[in-house]
């Protein structure tokens, strides 16, 4: 699949990543998506835009639907203009099942609807605004407050002898984000799981509109707190693409360093909880000591335990001195030694392995069909990693070893984390040895209004994308952040089928998906 194989409608967007953008009609929209699917590509993101108050063209330009597709040469972004909201757009969920919830979200937020034969149920909307109000239309006042209605969501019900339902959430038993899970079970065996999310919908996308490009970076870092570095970097890439700004090389190396630190601390935390959920509290204590060691190092070196607000458009706000480099090398050596020791203990522990092996299995063909992505995808043979396939500075000089496994069970997702920690530590060592000297921040400059900038970064959970449509005066016209959890939540519904209810927490934790990142 080469770029020449596609119609000559694409223009490359400026910036670090290989991204092409083109406008299509409804026929071309589906045809191109089909071509990408058959060429081995996949759907990354789908979002809407209201251009009815477009100040650039000075005329009503209707709406637009955008879809980002991953192909061998890079990211293809298709824009489908829709003159009126009533025009239905072609459904993609038969090609890419993950499109279903994205399309329903576009319907809730813009009133733009896919073909009538697709799933027409609401997704992001519960009962806080009426069915005929669309929060992401420009005419919608963000401060409007409506009386709350009942959600009345039509769950699919399973009937038969002995089938009953277990409803869980939105408030869960542990320290977890809120969401609702509806299990249909026979005895303790799960027949079906249906998720109802969007409890955390807090108007994030609307909040971005009208923000300055600088302030937007702060909000981008809070789309999903555990992925703050990846979002901040993706946002910075998008803003820098719009402003034709190239950050200093040292800043790019520092960004990669921060991204790998974020990957390590999340993986350490998950490994602790995975042990805990298999009744090995020892694992929780051990891994969370290591995680705390890393967070304290972050606090010492960067003044923030989770590295928030360090990546900004134009570069990074903090530098690392030689003492800092040594401190980091020491901390990582300690974490590497301890993690290797703990891996042996997990591997040799019969009780833990009994819970991990074959539990929550997603076979590679199902993973491919449903578009499972990121860490969970790589545990099911889906060999995608932006750092390895589309390496930008500094990854192009680091030669990232992509970790993959084939079993697709909890055990595979655990092993993925152990091996990715090792790889991230290797990458950080290379960065510490080779990072060039120089400035860390440059002037962002001005963005032309009415343009599209895209950032695309492999976060710890999977690929994060930020699509930024520029407005007047270096302000945001529209911003859509995409979390890999959009793809992976629906696959979790499949991973649990045939497993027992008590294994759900373990399976869920092995995916560890974001609620805030998709509820927006």
């Amino acid at each position: 699949m080469r770029l020449d194989d596609f119609p000559k409608i694409f223009a490359q967007l400026p910036g670090a990543m290989p991204i092409w953008h083109g406008t299509v009609d409804a026929t071309g929209y589906r045809a191109l998506c089909k071509q990408v699917l058959h060429g081995g590509g996949k759907l990354l993101a789908l979002w809407g835009e209201d251009k009815t108050q477009d100040s650039v063209s000075q005329k009503a330009a209707g709406y637009a639907l955008h879809v980002a597709l991953v192909t061998a040469p890079g990211l293809l972004v298709l824009s489908l203009p829709l003159a009126q909201a009533e025009v239905r757009f072609p459904d993609l969920s038969d090609l890419f099942p993950a499109a279903d919830r994205m399309q329903r979200s576009v319907a809730d937020m813009f009133g733009l609807r896919p073909d009538a034969e697709s799933d027409q149920r609401k997704w992001l909307r519960h009962g806080s605004w009426p069915q005929d109000a669309y929060p992401l239309r420009k005419s919608f006042d963000p401060h409007t407050s409506y009386a709350t209605e009942a959600d009345a969501y039509p769950f699919v019900s399973v009937t038969g002898d002995g089938v009953h339902e277990i409803a869980v959430g939105p408030v869960h038993a542990g320290t977890i984000e809120p969401g609702h899970f509806r299990f249909s079970v026979v005895g303790e065996k799960v027949l079906r799981l249906e998720e109802r999310l969007a409890y955390k919908h807090k108007g994030t996308e609307k909040r971005f509109e009208g923000m300055s490009l600088q302030l937007g970076a702060k909000l981008a870092g809070r789309i999903s707190g555990d992925t703050t570095v990846a979002y901040a970097w993706a946002y910075a890439q998008a803003a820098e693409s719009l402003c034709l700004c190239t950050p200093p090389e040292r800043a790019l190396w520092l960004r990669a360093l921060l991204l790998e630190l974020e990957r390590i601390h999340n993986h350490l935390g998950d490994l602790g909880y995975l042990g805990n959920d298999a009744a090995l509290a020892f694992g929780f204590a051990q891994f969370w000591i290591l995680k705390e060691d890393l967070l304290r190092m972050n606090e010492t070196l960067f003044s923030h335990r989770y590295l928030m607000d360090i990546i900004v458009p134009g570069g990074v706000t903090r530098d690392l001195d030689n003492a800092g480099l040594l401190h980091m090398a020491d901390t990582l050596r300690h974490i590497e030694d301890e993690t290797a020791r703990l891996k042996n203990i997990y591997d040799e522990h019969a009780g833990v392995q009994d819970r991990f092996l074959t539990t929550g299995r997603v076979a590679p063909d199902l993973a491919a069909q449903l578009g499972l992505t990121g860490l969970a995808g790589r545990a099911s043979s889906q060999a995608w990693d932006v750092r390895a396939q589309f390496p930008t500075m500094p990854y192009e000089q680091l030669d990232v070893n992509m970790v993959t496994h084939r079993n697709g069970d909890v055990a595979a997702r655990v092993t993925m984390r152990f091996e990715e920690i090792s790889e991230s530590i290797r990458l950080i060592r290379l960065i510490l040895a080779r990072i060039p000297l120089g400035e860390t921040l440059t002037e962002l400059g001005k963005a032309e209004a009415g343009k599209l900038g895209i950032g695309w970064v492999e976060g710890w959970r999977g690929e994060v994308m930020v699509a930024l449509h520029s407005g007047d005066d270096n302000r945001i016209h529209r911003l859509h952040p995409h979390d890999p959890s959009w793809q992976n939540w629906p696959v979790l519904e499949h991973a649990i089928i045939g497993n027992i209810v008590p294994d759900f927490p373990l399976i869920n934790k092995s995916f560890n998906l974001s609620y805030s990142g998709v509820d927006l």
Partner: protein
Amino acid sequence: MYQIIKQMLRTGIKSGTTPQTDDALRNQIQDINAQILNIVGRALAIRHVDAGSCNGCELEIHCLNNPYYNIEGIGMHFVASPRHADMLLVTGPVSRHMEMALKRTYDATPDPKLVVALGDCGKDGGIFGESYASCGGISKVLPVDVIVPGCPPPPLAILQGILTAVSRSKNA
């Protein structure tokens, strides 16, 4: 099993190994423990509710459970149901979609109860503010005893907020 015991011995006891394990701190911990016992008559049971956060504050609540902070050692623990809780530890902003669930969780918590709001967003909605989808800070929905600002507030600040709420209720 041998490997596990060996690793435990290697790791040692992380709690209380800092230089502060002098008598002053011991008294303080005993004092905290005594205070908690005085107020609730047993260990303080805390129920966390995420009412719409970015998940940043949750990361720090998880950390509070790591061996460095030793919270069970000073007499507090997290529980799975509001019906078992003395205190709600709430992160925000409160999304409108979580408003009802949060109120119901509060109603399910037996009296007397304390509410600690976490983070800049729990304080007043923070960067998410108030909108068609966000009620803003926790105090827009529940009576709040103590607010712990920060983005996210580190574990020691959360611990301080929890202890402040307990001691304030003693004075009240």
